[in-house]
Symmetry: D2
Subunit: 104 residues, 4 copies
C-alpha cells in the first residue's frame, strides 16, 4: 500500500483526490477515537463519558462521508452530467441512493 | 491498562459490565471498519464504495451507543430512581441530555 | 375532544402533563410549517428553499420527541423504578426501544 | 392541478414538478399525522404511543426531503452541470450544503 498512497495515477479521476490528505488525517483521528472508546470500556469508565466519545467518533465519520459525497457530486456526477444521457441519469440515481442511506 | 482490563472490580457498578465483552468486540470491528475506510481512500477506490463502508462503521458505533445508553438507563438510572430525590432527578436529567446529543 | 382537552384528570399520571401547553404550542407551529411546505410545493417554489422549511418542521418534531421522552423518563420510568421488579424492567426496556427508534 | 396550483407556469422548470402530486399527497398525510400528535397530547395519551406517531410524521417529512433533493440533483444540478463553469460549481456547492443540513 505504501507505494500506491499519494500515487494518484491508478484512479486519478476520483473527486476526493484533492482532499485525500485531509480525509486520511480525519480517518486516523476517527480510528484513534474508536480505540479510545475501546480503552474506556476496558477500564470500566462511566457510561455517559464513553457515550460522549462515541458521539465524537460518529461525528468525525459523518464529516468524512459529507466530504466524500461533496467530492463525488462536484466531480463524478458533474462529469457525467456534462456528458448527459443515460450514464448521467444512472450516476445521479446512484448518488441519490447514497444520500438516502446517509440520511436513513 | 493490561491488568485492569477484564478486572471488573474497579467500577463494577457500571451497567455495561455485563455487556463488556460484546461491546469490546463491536468496537474492535468498528475500528477495523474505520481502518478499512482509510485503506480505501489511500488506494483511491470509488467514492460511493467508500461511503458504504463509512456508513457501516457509523452504524456499528450507533449500536454501541444504544447498548451503553440501554445499560445506563437500566442500571445507573434505575438505581438512582430507587433512591429517589435530587440525585435521581440529576441522573435522569443527565441521561436525557445524552439522548438529545445522540438524536441531535 | 373539546371537553377532554385541558382536563388533565383522565390520565393525570403522564409525565408530559406539566409541559402540555408547551407541547401543544410546538405542535401547532410544526403543523403550520408542514402546511407552509405544502403551499411552497403548490406554488412551485425553489427546491432548496422548500428543503430548508422541511428541515425546520423536522427539527420541531424532534424537539417534541425529546420533550416527550424526557418527561417519560423522569416520570413514568422513574415511578416504575421506585417500585422496582419486573414492571420497572419492562418500562426501561420499552423506553430503550423508543430511544433506539428515535436514533434509528 | 391546473387552476388550483397558484400558477404552475412561473417556475415550471423545477425538478419536482413531475412529482408534485405525490409530494402534495405526502405532505397532506404528514400534516394529518402532526395534527394526530396534537390530539393525542390534548387527550393525555401514553407518552410512548405519541412518540411512535411523532416518528411516523418525521419519517414522512424525511421522505419528502429525499424526493425534493433527488429531483433537485437530477434536474437543477444536472442542468447546471451541462452548462458547466461557475454556475454549475455554485449549484453543486448549494446542493452539498443542503445535504449536510439534512444529514446534520
Amino acid at each position: 500500500m505504501s507505494e500506491t498512497s499519494d500515487s494518484v495515477t491508478a484512479h486519478e479521476g476520483h473527486g476526493y483526490v484533492g482532499h485525500k490528505e485531509d480525509l486520511l488525517k480525519r480517518l486516523r483521528r476517527a480510528e484513534g477515537q474508536v480505540r479510545g472508546v475501546h480503552r474506556m470500556v476496558e477500564e470500566d469508565q462511566y457510561c455517559l463519558d464513553i457515550l460522549t466519545q462515541v458521539s465524537a467518533a460518529t461525528k468525525a465519520l459523518e464529516r468524512v462521508a459529507l466530504v466524500l459525497l461533496d467530492d463525488h457530486l462536484s466531480h463524478c456526477v458533474a462529469t457525467a452530467a456534462e456528458e448527459g444521457g443515460e450514464v448521467a441519469a444512472a450516476k445521479l440515481q446512484e448518488a441519490s441512493a447514497a444520500i438516502a442511506r446517509l440520511v436513513r
